[in-house]
Structure formats: structure tokens, C-alpha cells
Amino acid sequence: MTSHPYRSQPDRAFWSRAVAKAFSPAETYTGPTPLLVKSDRIMSAGSCFASNLVPFLESAGFTYLRTEEPHPYFRRLPENLGYRNFTAAYGNIYTARQFLQLIDRAYGRFVPAEDRWYVDGTVVDPFRPGLRYPARSDAEFDVLTAQHLAAVRDGLESATVLVFTLGLTEAWRSSVDGAIYPACPGTISGEFDPARHEFHNFSASEVTDDLHAICDRLNEVNTGLRIILTVSPVPLVATATDAHVVVATTRSKAILRVAEARSSTRDPMSPTSRPTRSSVAPRRPTNSSNRIAARSALSRSKRS
């Protein structure tokens, strides 16, 4: 029998041995150190996976960072759309561009032209359109938004790990300044105006650039932060393209996976390459607590 490269491959390299039989999600992660350790302060953002993992993390004894919770007296009141499921009340963030813009808004780098909607006597945040308790005046809106963005900064600066889940490539944005909305205006709140709102389907290069920019921004404010990138497996609820929703979903997920891979390796030949160095800090050996995170694709960025 001749020798060939597959002879030396471990069981995990074979579908029949590692998936069809005895599938162990923890073994999908093959990095040299654990993704998480118990002393980490974990922040998450992105699509629903980023919130769905929180109860698993907490039940495994990890610390999920929460910087924006209702006052204790008001916690019994219900909320919409999972705004309380994240470190701060930003809700689902489906695209890398939206997260990049949130970071820039938090640090005063970006002020959207269309930053509020007036709906039935309330002032609605276009970037959190489902909030159950909206402001009732511009003055209140300004204060509440400033409080929210401060909580975002607090999270970004005090986390040791950020889990960011890429969800979609399809997005609706302002035709004035490119501000990305989490949902098409008019669906959850507000009104759709074709003169002001346009569809955009991000390319792999755009998502990659945005991820690089996110890493750079975060390195500026939290040099020790490690970033775990994941791609949500959840299909599109609907597509705004002409394609079948299955085709649109596979395109979207494939692009996000490519962008994640490009971003995690930071190809030095890439024109979007930044002087940030990637490294992995030594961690304790992997244990069962890491299984959830280990299912996901990984990128770590640390500026030393």
C-alpha cells in the first residue's frame, strides 16, 4: 500500500469518523489555546447567535459582560427583540458595517444624518427601532442615546473577549451617508422612503474591510481585547434581491465566511492589511466549557 497524505491525518479529518459517528463539536476547534478562560469578561454583538450563546456561557461559569441593564426596579417590565440579551442594548447587529458604525458613533466619529424617527408621539432610534420604551422628546432621546453609547464604550473597553457574529450581507442604508439600519425602515418602525433609503448587498471585500476596520478601532480602545468571529447559520428571513431565498442565503453565508477567513489571517499582501499583529495569548488547556465557542470560526487580534 502506498503512502499518501491522508494516512497521517487524524480522525477529525474524516467525515465518516468525526461527523457521521461520534461527532464532538469541541473537536472542531483546533487552536493551540482555549478560546475562553473563566477570568474573561465576554462581550458579544451581532446576529442572534451572539445572544443565544449567552445562557450557555453563563451556565458554564463564564462572565458575560453587561453594561446596559434596566434599573433593578424596572427589570420586570418586558422588552422587545432581545435588546436585553446583549452586553449593551444595541439589539441584533446583522452586518459588519453596522457594528463598525456603532463603534464610530460611540466614539463620536460618525453622526448619522437620519438619527431619529418621529412615530406616534415618540422619538424612535432607527438603529434600535424595536425598543419598547422609546423617548418622548428630542431632549430625552439625546440623553438616552448618549447613555446607550456610553454603555457601548464601557463594554468595548472593559471586555477581554468580543464574540462578533456575522449575520447578513443584505442591508438597508441611508442614501445620504450610508448609515446602516438593522432592519428595513418601515418594517419594525419608521417609514420607508425610496428617496432616502436604499438596498445594499455587501461583497466579501467590503465585509473584510469592515472587519479590519473594526479590529483597528477596537485595538485603539482596548489593546488586550481578543475577538472571536462567528458566522450565524440562521437563514435569511427574506431577501430583497431577485434570487430565491435559498440562493441568497448561501451567497450571504459564503461571503461572510470568506470575509471571516480573510480577516482572521490578515493576508499581508492584501491592500486592506493593517499593521496590527495577530497573536494568541497562552491559555489554560481546553475544557468542556469551551465547546460552544469552539464551534465557531476563530479570529484573534491582539496588538502587543
Binding site: 426596579y73 417590565l77 422609546p134 423617548a135 440623553v143 447613555q147
Partner: protein, 254 residues
């Protein structure tokens, strides 16, 4: 031996005041200030007034809340105006005493996180349930929701606490003292009261009633109830306040 629960006492409501009243006041505890206004002769120059009260009780803190019979009587009475002080102490019930972790409003308070006004409204939203049913069959020409008294100063609240059995009992249950309990700053309580008044105004619009707000003349520069309009407890106003509001009601429906 079986113990038998005593039968619930049938509340005996009665109209108290002028026999030919054109302004009929019916509602929760703040109604008592209107009875006192009649008793003290402060309504003699205005329209004839009557208040639907429990016979014999003058203690607003010990009064039972209106029941179905009460509202049937209120609606059945003929008059020009049915004026309703609906609740009005929600902001005290929930927030008179300060929390270990304070909160503030977007334009009031010095420490703690900012809580949206809409979230505060949600806290007391259920207290408005039943308001439309209560006055749905009113025979009066106009239904008015009356603005309820503004908060009292921190000092007045502290002085009034021993005379407010509801709060004394609440403090006793948690082992706190009326002398040392932390009072939510008046600035925040005024903001809470304003939110409540806005909610009352919205409820009035929803049920087709007229909302009569508390005039600025009843408030100090910082928005509290002027001492000359205060009943010596935590939350209620006196006869002079009721007389003032009756004049506002007459003007609103003129």
C-alpha cells in the same frame, strides 16, 4: 372547629354636599379634599358641588377604593360635570422612597441611570385599567379627569410620613423608620408627577373626557405643591387646593 370568614362589609357610599350639585366629584382618595372644601364653605361662591364618599369617613389614608357600586352611583347622578380624581399617587406608591441604586429622568435628578418616561408610564399603566368602564355610562354632560396634587417638598414629606398610614405600614414591613428612610429627591418626584399628569391627559383624550391640569399657581418655583395647598400627610392636598381645582374645572367646561 371551622372558622368562618366574616361577610364583606357592604360599603355605603353617599353623595355629600349640595343637593342640587352641578359638579359631581367621584374618584379615589383625592376626592376627600373636595369634601373638605365643601365643609369649609370654600365652594359657596361657585357651582354647587357634591362628592361621592363613604359615609362618615374623613381620613383619606383610611378610605376604601371605589368599587362597582360606587361607579354605578357616580354615573347615574345627573349633573353638568362628573369630575374624577383618578388615583394620582402612583408616583408616590412606587417611588417615594429612594433606592440603593438611584435613577433619574432625562431632565431631572443628579445621579443614577436615566430611565425613559415611557418606562415609568409602563410601571403604572395598569392603574388606569377600568377608567373607561367606570365613567362609560355617566349621565353628566361633561366628564373631567382632574389633575392630581404635585409632590411635596422633601421636608413636607418627612413631616407628613407619620400621618400617612399606608407608608408607615409599608416601612414597618421592611423594618425601616419614617425618620431615617431615604426620600426620593423632590426634583425627581416632580418629574415623575409630570409624567403621570401627561398620562392622565392621554387617558382623558382616549375616553373622550376633558383633562383639567393643576395650575402653576398651585406650585412652587421647583414644581412642588405650595404649602398653603397641602394636607399634612405625604401626598394629599387640602380644601384650598380643591377649591382652586373646582374653579379650573368650571373654566374648562364653560
Amino acid at each position: 372547629m371551622k372558622s368562618r370568614k366574616p361577610p364583606e362589609r357592604q360599603l355605603e357610599w353617599e353623595w355629600w354636599g349640595d343637593a342640587d350639585a352641578s359638579v359631581l366629584v367621584a374618584g379615589h382618595s383625592h376626592r376627600e379634599s373636595y369634601r373638605r372644601a365643601i365643609a369649609e364653605g370654600l365652594t359657596s361662591t361657585g357651582a354647587a358641588v357634591a362628592v361621592l364618599v363613604l359615609g362618615g369617613s374623613y381620613d383619606p389614608a383610611a378610605m376604601p377604593n371605589p368599587d362597582d357600586t360606587y361607579w354605578r352611583l357616580a354615573c347615574a347622578a345627573q349633573g353638568r360635570v362628573l369630575a374624577v380624581p383618578w388615583q394620582g399617587n402612583q408616583y408616590n406608591t412606587h417611588f417615594l422612597f429612594g433606592f440603593d441604586e438611584p435613577f433619574r429622568l432625562h431632565d431631572r435628578g443628579e445621579s443614577g441611570m436615566v430611565v425613559p418616561a415611557s418606562m415609568l408610564s409602563a410601571i403604572w399603566r395598569r392603574s388606569f385599567e377600568g377608567i373607561d368602564g367606570a365613567v362609560a355610562s355617566a349621565r353628566a354632560e361633561h366628564v373631567v379627569l382632574i389633575g392630581t396634587p404635585p409632590p411635596k417638598s422633601d421636608e413636607a414629606v418627612r413631616e407628613g410620613l407619620p400621618h400617612s398610614p399606608f407608608f408607615v405600614r409599608a416601612l414597618a414591613r421592611v423594618g425601616e423608620s419614617v425618620d431615617t428612610i431615604r426620600i426620593t429627591p423632590a426634583a425627581v418626584r416632580v418629574g415623575l408627577w409630570k409624567i403621570l399628569q401627561d398620562d392622565l391627559e392621554q387617558e382623558a383624550a382616549r375616553i373622550g373626557a376633558v383633562f383639567v391640569p393643576v395650575p402653576l399657581t398651585a406650585q412652587t418655583a421647583d414644581g412642588c405643591l405650595k404649602p398653603e395647598y397641602a394636607w399634612p400627610d405625604v401626598s394629599h392636598a387640602n380644601a384650598a387646593f380643591a377649591a382652586l381645582m373646582l374653579r379650573e374645572i368650571e373654566a374648562a367646561v364653560a
